[in-house]
C-alpha cells in the first residue's frame, strides 16, 4: 500500500506541473480583456454622447407637438410620435395575449421535455432569429398580398384597394409576430417563479386547472407579462425593416384614424430624413432630435422592464 501510492501520484503531480508551468500572474490576458471592456464602454459613450449633444438643442415642446414642414426641413415630429404610439398599442393588443397563452401552455400543460414542447421551443427560438427584413417580406406577401387582397376581393367591388395596401394594422401584426418570442420568454420566466405551493393550494381548495390559471397563475405572473410587453414595445418601436413595406409612410398630412390608414413612425422617419433628404445639413438638427427621442423612448422602456424583471428575480431567490 505504501509502495503503490507514491508510484501512482508522482507522474500525476509532474503532469499537473507541466500543465501549469508558466507561473505568471496573467497580467497580459487580464489587461487585454479589460481593454475590450473599456473599448465597449467608450463606443457606447461616444455613440450616446454624440447623439445627446447633437439632439438636445432641438428638443422642445414645440418640436414634440408640431408636424414636419418644408419637406421635413423644419417643424416637429408629432405625427411620427403618435404613429409610433398607435402602432405599438395595436401590436400589443394583437401579440401579447397569444404570447402569454403560449407561455402558459408551455409551462402548465406540457410535460418538460415532451415532443410538443421541444417543437414549440425550437419554433420560438427560430422566430426570434429570423431577420427583421424577412418579417417585412412576410408582411407584404401574406398580410397585404394574401389576407388584405382576399378581403378586398370578397367584400369590395371597386378596383381601389381598401385592405390590400400598406396599413397600420398589417404593420402592427407583422411586429406582433416579430416580438412574440420576447413576450413568451419573459412570461415563461415569471411562470417559473411562481412557487409550487401556491398552485397546490389552489388545487387543494378544489379549483380546476383553468380556474387556477385564471385566478392564481395569471395574477401572479402579471409583472412578468408586463416586462415582456414593455420589452416587446421597445423592440417594436425601434424596428424599421418590417414596417417599411407594410404601412409606414414618408409623410402624411393626417394622423392614422382607421385600421387601414398608413402612418408615420419615428424609426422610419429617421431613415427617411437620413437617406432621402436633398439637403442633409439642413435636416441634421431635426434628424438628431428625432434620433434622441427614439433612443430615450427605447431606453426608458428597457429600463422599466429591467427594473421589474430584477424585482421578480429577487422575489424568486427569496423563496
Amino acid at each position: 500500500m505504501s509502495q503503490v501510492a507514491p508510484l501512482a501520484q508522482k507522474p500525476l503531480q509532474e503532469d499537473v506541473k507541466a500543465h501549469f508551468r508558466p507561473k505568471t500572474q496573467g497580467y497580459v490576458p487580464r489587461g487585454l480583456t479589460l481593454a475590450a471592456v473599456v473599448l465597449i464602454i467608450a463606443i457606447l459613450a461616444i455613440l450616446l454622447g454624440n447623439i445627446v449633444v447633437g439632439g438636445v438643442g432641438t428638443i422642445s415642446w414645440e418640436f414634440l407637438t408640431s408636424p414636419p414642414e418644408q419637406g421635413l426641413e423644419a417643424g416637429g415630429i408629432y405625427p411620427a410620435i403618435i404613429g409610433t404610439v398607435f402602432l405599438v398599442i395595436l401590436m400589443v393588443i394583437c401579440g401579447v395575449p397569444i404570447g402569454v397563452l403560449t407561455a402558459i401552455y408551455l409551462q402548465e400543460y406540457t410535460r418538460p421535455g415532451s415532443k410538443v414542447m421541444r417543437m414549440i421551443r425550437i419554433a420560438i427560438n427560430n422566430l426570434a432569429g429570423v431577420p427583421s427584413i424577412v418579417f417585412g417580406l412576410f408582411g407584404l406577401g401574406f398580410f397585404i398580398g394574401f389576407v388584405g387582397r382576399g378581403i378586398d376581393g370578397a367584400f369590395f367591388e371597386s378596383n381601389q384597394p381598401v385592405w390590400g395596401q400598406p396599413a397600420i394594422i398589417w404593420a402592427a401584426l407583422t411586429l406582433a409576430l416579430l416580438t412574440l418570442p420576447v413576450v413568451i420568454i419573459s412570461t415563461e420566466e415569471a411562470l417559473r417563479a411562481i412557487p409550487r405551493e401556491v398552485k397546490d393550494a389552489s388545487y387543494a381548495l378544489g379549483a380546476t386547472k383553468l380556474q387556477t390559471i385564471r385566478r392564481v397563475i395569471i395574477p401572479q405572473a402579471m409583472p412578468g407579462i408586463f416586462t415582456g410587453s414593455i420589452l416587446a414595445i421597445s423592440r417594436g418601436a425601434g424596428e424599421v425593416a418590417p414596417i417599411m413595406f407594410t404601412g409606414a409612410a414618408y409623410y402624411l398630412p393626417y394622423l392614422p384614424s382607421k385600421l387601414n390608414d398608413q402612418f408615420m413612425e419615428l424609426g422610419y422617419h429617421v431613415f427617411v430624413m437620413a437617406t432621402q433628404s436633398p439637403d442633409v445639413d439642413k435636416t441634421l438638427p431635426i434628424l438628431y432630435g428625432t434620433v434622441l427621442v427614439l433612443l430615450l423612448l427605447t431606453f426608458m422602456l428597457n429600463f422599466t422592464a429591467i427594473m421589474i424583471r430584477s424585482r421578480i428575480r429577487s422575489r424568486r431567490k427569496g423563496e
Binding site: P131, V134, L137, F142, V270, F271, L287, V291, F299
Partner: protein, 321 residues
C-alpha cells in the same frame, strides 16, 4: 387571503376542455406562424422555378453564374434589376453580405469575447454591475440609430482617417454591424463561461493553478463550444441585419474583394427595392428568393447554435456521474 377570493364556481367540464384547447391553439400558432413565414416567402419566390414567363427573364443559373451581356466583353456578374435588360446575378450581393459580416466579426469577436472573459473571470462584483447594463444599453439601441450614426458620424471619421475614396463602404457598415452584434456574442459567451461549475474551478485551484491559469487552461476550453456558438449567432445576426447596411454601406452591387469599396447586401437589396417593385414580376420573385436564402441561412445558424448551447448546458450542469 380571504375565503371569497377562492370562491370558485362549480366546475364545468366543457369550459375546462375549451380553455385548454384555446390555450393550445395559441401555442401552436407560434409553430404555425414560423411555418407560414417559410411557406409564403417560398411561395412568392417559386415562380422563378415554375413560371415560364418569369423563367424567360431570369433563371437560377443566371443568378449564380457570370453572364455574357455584350459580345465583346467577358462574362461577368452583375445586379441591375431595373435596367432595360434586367440582370439578376446574386454574386455581387453575396460578396457584399460576406464582406460586411466578416468586418463585423473581426470587430466584434475580440471585443465581445474579451469583455465576456473579463466579466466572468476577472471582474469584481462592482465592475460586473457596470458591464452588464452597458451591454444591455448597447443591445437596446435600435439598428436604425446605429445606421444613422454610421452614416453621419462614423463614415466621415473613417474617411478622414484612412483617406478613403468612397465614404460609405464595407468597412464602415461592418464596424456598425459589429457594434450591433457585440451584445449577442458577449451574452452567449459569458453565459457559457459562468455555467462552468464552481467545483471544477475549485479542483483546478486545489491542484495549484492560479486564477488566470484556471481561466485559460480549464474554463475557457470547457466553455469553447458556447463561445463558438455566440460567434456563429452573431454572424447570423450580421447577415440578416438590414437598416445598418442599408444606410451605411453605399448600396453599390460591386463584386470586388476590397473592403473599402461600396457594397450591397442581400438584406439591403430587399429593403431598397421591394417598395418599387411590381407585385408578381420577376424582380419581385427574385427579392423573395433572396428572402428565402436569408431565412434558410439564419434558420440553420440558429438551430445549430441552439443545439450546441443546450448540449453544453447538459454537459456542464447535468448530473455528474
Amino acid at each position: 387571503m380571504t375565503a371569497e377570493k377562492f370562491d370558485f364556481k362549480p366546475k364545468s367540464k366543457l369550459k375546462e376542455w375549451l380553455g385548454e384547447k384555446v390555450i393550445m391553439l395559441c401555442a401552436l400558432s407560434a409553430l404555425v406562424s414560423i411555418a407560414l413565414i417559410f411557406i409564403f416567402i417560398f411561395k412568392e419566390s417559386s415562380p422563378i422555378l415554375t413560371d415560364e414567363f418569369i423563367k424567360d427573364e431570369v433563371t437560377v443559373s443566371e443568378m449564380v453564374f457570370p453572364q455574357q451581356w455584350k459580345a465583346d466583353e467577358p462574362p461577368r456578374w452583375s445586379w441591375q434589376p431595373t435596367s432595360s435588360t434586367p440582370k439578376y446575378s446574386l454574386f455581387p450581393l453575396f460578396v457584399g453580405t460576406l464582406k460586411a459580416a466578416l468586418v463585423a466579426m473581426l470587430f466584434a469577436t475580440p471585443l465581445g469575447v474579451g469583455a465576456a472573459i473579463y466579466s466572468s473571470e476577472f471582474a469584481s462584483k462592482r465592475m460586473r454591475e457596470v458591464i452588464k447594463p452597458v451591454i444591455e444599453l448597447l443591445a437596446g439601441i435600435p439598428s436604425v440609430v446605429l445606421g444613422f450614426f454610421a452614416l453621419i458620424v462614423l463614415a466621415s471619421i473613417l474617411q478622414d482617417l484612412f483617406g478613403l475614396t468612397y465614404r460609405l463602404n464595407a468597412l464602415n457598415a461592418g464596424i456598425a454591424l459589429g457594434i450591433a452584434i457585440i451584445p449577442i456574442i458577449f451574452t452567449v459567451a459569458e453565459d457559457a463561461m459562468s455555467s462552468v461549475p464552481g467545483s471544477l474551478r475549485d479542483a483546478a485551484r486545489a491542484l495549484g493553478a492560479n486564477p488566470w491559469q484556471v481561466s485559460f487552461t480549464m474554463v475557457l476550453p470547457a466553455a469553447m463550444p458556447g463561445i463558438a456558438a455566440g460567434m456563429v449567432l452573431g454572424f447570423g445576426r450580421a447577415v440578416g441585419e438590414t437598416m445598418i447596411v442599408l444606410m451605411a454601406s453605399g448600396n453599390a452591387a460591386i463584386a470586388s474583394w476590397s473592403f473599402v469599396d461600396s457594397i450591397r447586401t442581400f438584406s439591403a437589396t430587399i429593403a431598397a427595392e421591394l417598395a418599387e417593385v411590381v407585385f408578381g414580376s420577376a424582380h419581385y420573385s427574385v427579392l423573395f428568393f433572396i428572402g428565402t436564402i436569408l431565412f434558410i441561412f439564419t434558420f440553420f445558424i440558429n438551430l445549430g447554435g441552439d443545439v450546441v448551447l443546450s448540449r453544453l448546458r447538459t454537459r456542464l450542469q447535468g448530473k455528474l456521474q
